[in-house]
Symmetry: C4
Subunit: 213 residues, 4 copies
C-alpha cells in the first residue's frame, strides 16, 4: 500500500497545505492594509463637510495613499516570489516550516509600519517612521534568504528537475535585496523621502526579477 508514488504524493500534499496557509496569510495581510491605513475623514467641529471640503480632506491624506500603494505592491511581489520559490520545492522539513513561519510573521506585520509611515511621512517624526518601515524590509530580506537556505542550500528539498543555474539565479536575486534595504534603512535617518523612494524602486526591481525567474 505504501510505495514510492504514495510517498511523493504525501510530500506534495504537505507542501500544498503550507502553500495554502501562506497564501491565506498573504491574502489577509494585503486586504487588511485598507482597513488599517484608509480612514474616512470627519468634519472637525461637528458641522457637516461640503463637497469641496471632503475632497480637500481626502487629498490631504496623500501620504497614506502613497504608502498604501508601496506596501500593496511589495506584498504582492513578495507573494509572487514566494509562489515562484515554492514551485521549485517538493518536500518540507521542520527548519523550512520555521523559516516560512518567520517570513509570515513579518508579512503580517507590514500593515503596522505602513500605517505608521502613512501618518508620519509628512510630519516631524518621519525619520522614525521611515526607519521602522525600511527596517522591517531588512528583516524580510533576511527571511527570504533564510527560507531559500532552508529549501536549497542546507538540505535539498527541491524538485529533482531544478537545475543548478536556476538555484544560482535565485540565490543571487535574494542577495540583492538585503544591501538595498540596508541602504534604505540608513537613508531614513538622513532623508525619509529618499528611503521610501528606494523601497518603491525595489519592488519594481523585484517585479522584473521575479517575472524572469
Amino acid at each position: 500500500m505504501i510505495n514510492e508514488n504514495s510517498i511523493i504524493l504525501a510530500a506534495e500534499k504537505e507542501t500544498g497545505r503550507t502553500e495554502d496557509f501562506s497564501d491565506g496569510v498573504f491574502a489577509v495581510a494585503i486586504t487588511l492594509l485598507v482597513l488599517e491605513v484608509l480612514n474616512v475623514p470627519h468634519a472637525p467641529e461637528g458641522r457637516p463637510f461640503s463637497a469641496g471640503e471632503l475632497a480637500t480632506a481626502l487629498g490631504h491624506n496623500w501620504t497614506v495613499y502613497v504608502t498604501f500603494l508601496i506596501s500593496f505592491s511589495t506584498i504582492l511581489i513578495m507573494w509572487m516570489n514566494h509562489h515562484a520559490m515554492f514551485k521549485l520545492v517538493q518536500k518540507t522539513d521542520g527548519v523550512f516550516m520555521f523559516a516560512n513561519g518567520f517570513l509570515l510573521l513579518l508579512v503580517t506585520l507590514v500593515p503596522f509600519p505602513t500605517q505608521l509611515l502613512g501618518e508620519y511621512l509628512a510630519a516631524p517624526a518621519a525619520v522614525t517612521a521611515a526607519a521602522v518601515y525600511a527596517g522591517l524590509f531588512v528583516f524580510i530580506s533576511l527571511a527570504y534568504i533564510g527560507l531559500w537556505w532552508a529549501a536549497a542550500l542546507r538540505r535539498n528539498l527541491l524538485r529533482p528537475d531544478v537545475t543548478a543555474t536556476q538555484i544560482q539565479q535565485r540565490t543571487r536575486a535574494n542577495m540583492v535585496g538585503l544591501p538595498a534595504y540596508l541602504v534604505a534603512f540608513a537613508c531614513a535617518f538622513w532623508s525619509p523621502f529618499l528611503s521610501v523612494a528606494i523601497c518603491s524602486v525595489l519592488w519594481i526591481f523585484w517585479a522584473f526579477t521575479s517575472s524572469r525567474l
Copy 2:
C-alpha cells in the same frame, strides 16, 4: 521525467495558486465590508437607548445598508467574472500576474469608498463620495480590460479548446462596463443618487452577462 504532460500539470498548478490567492483577497474584501461600514449605534448622551430609539438609530443608517448591498453584490459579480475568465486561462505569465495584481489592488480598495458613500450619501458632501465611488469602478473596468488583454489578446494564454466566439463575447462584455461607469462618474457631479443608481443597475447587468458567458 519532464514530458509535455508534466509541463501542462505545472501550468495548471500555477493558475491554481493564483486563483486561490485571488479568491482569498475577494473573500476577505467582501467579508470586511461589514466591519468597515456597519457600526452599532450608541446613545448620544450616555443615557441608554430605549428599544424604539435603537430601532430609529438603526433605520437612520439606511444609506449605509444600501451602499453595503451594492458593494457586496458588485464584488460578488466581479468574483464570478474573474472565476469565469480564469476558467478559460491555462497558463500565466508576468504581465498577466501584474494585471491580476492591479485588479486585486482595486478590489481591496472597495470597502473604503463604500464607507465614504455610506456616510456621506445623504449629506452635503455626497457629490465627492459618489464621484470617488464611481471613479473606483472606472478603474476596475480598466483593470478587467487589461486582464483580458493580457490573457487573450496580447499573448494567447487560453486553453486550446476556447473558441473565437467565446473570446469575442467576453471582449465585448468587458467593453460595456467602461463607458457605463464613466457615465456614472460624470453623473456624480450632478446627482449623486443617479450615479449610485447606475452602479446598482450595472451589477444586475453583469449578473445576467456573466451567467450567459
Copy 3:
C-alpha cells in the same frame, strides 16, 4: 480533446472554486466575530485597573461572551450544512451561484447583529437587538431553502448517485429552520432572552441533524 471526462472534470473544478470562495467567506466571518464583539475594557477615569477591577470589568461583559458563543456555533453549523450540501452537488449554474451569493451576504452580516445583541441584551433596547438577531436568521433559513431549491428542485445539479431519500431528508431538514426562527423573531418582542434561547437551541438541533445527514 474535449470528451465526457474533461467536461465532468471542468464541472468539478467549478464547484471546487465556489466551495473555496464560500469557505473563505465563512472562515473570515467566523474569525472576525472576535474582532467585532470582544473589546478590552479600560479603566474609566484614567486611574489604572486593579487586578480585581479588571476581572469584574471582564465578567460584566457576559452578554458579549454568550452572544459570541451562539454566533460562532451557528456559523460553524451553517458551514457544516453548506459543506454537506455541496458534497451532493456536481454542477453549478447562474441561479445556484446567486442563491449561494445571497447566503454568503447574510453570513458576512452575522457579526453585526452579534455585536448589537452583545451590547444591548441586558439593556432596555434588548427587544430591538434580539429582533434584528433572530430576523437575520429568518433570512438565512430562507437562503438555505433557496440554495437547496436551486441545487435539487429547480434543476438537477446533484451527483448522479444521490438518492431520492437523501433529497427528501435534506428538504425536510431545511423546512424546520424557517418556522423555528420565525418563532424566535416573534418572541423577541415579548422576551428577548427567550428569543436568544431559541436561537441557541436551534444550532444544537442543527448540529444533530447535520451529523445524521
Copy 4:
C-alpha cells in the same frame, strides 16, 4: 459508478475541505493579531511628535510586542500540529467535526487575551490578564486532546498505514501540554511574568516536538 476508489476519494475530499476551512481560520486569526494588538501611537496633547518622541512611544509598547510574538508563534505551532495530525486522518465524522470546531473557536479567541495581556502585562492588573491568557491555553490543550481522542481513540478515523507507535507518540505529546499550561495558569496569580515565560517556553517545546513527529 460507485466503487471503493470513489468512496476513498470522497472521504479524502471531505477531510480536504475541513482542512481548508481550518487553515482559513488559522490564517485569518494569525493575521488579525497585528490589527488587534499593534496601534500607532499618537501625540497626547495635539502637538506633533518629534522623531525621538515617536521612537520612545513605540519602545514604550514593548509588552505588546512580546505578547504579539508569543501569540503568533503559538498559533503557528498550533497550526503545524493541526496539520501534522490531519495528515494521519483519512475520514471525518460528526464528533471529529465538533472537536475541530471547538478548537477553532479557541483559536479565533487568541487575539483577545493577547490584546489584554499586551495592555496590562506591565500594569497592576497583570494578574488577571496573565490568568486569562494561560487559561485560554489550558482550554486549547483540552481541545487538542479531544480532537485526537475523536480521531484515534474513540473511533479509528486514521489512515490504514498509521502505526501504533505514531499513535502513542502523539497521545503522549498531547498529554504534556495540559499540565504545563495548568502550571502557567496557577503561576499567573503569583507572578504574571513567570506565567508568560512558561507559555513562551511551551511553544518552543511544541516546535521541537512537532518537528519530530
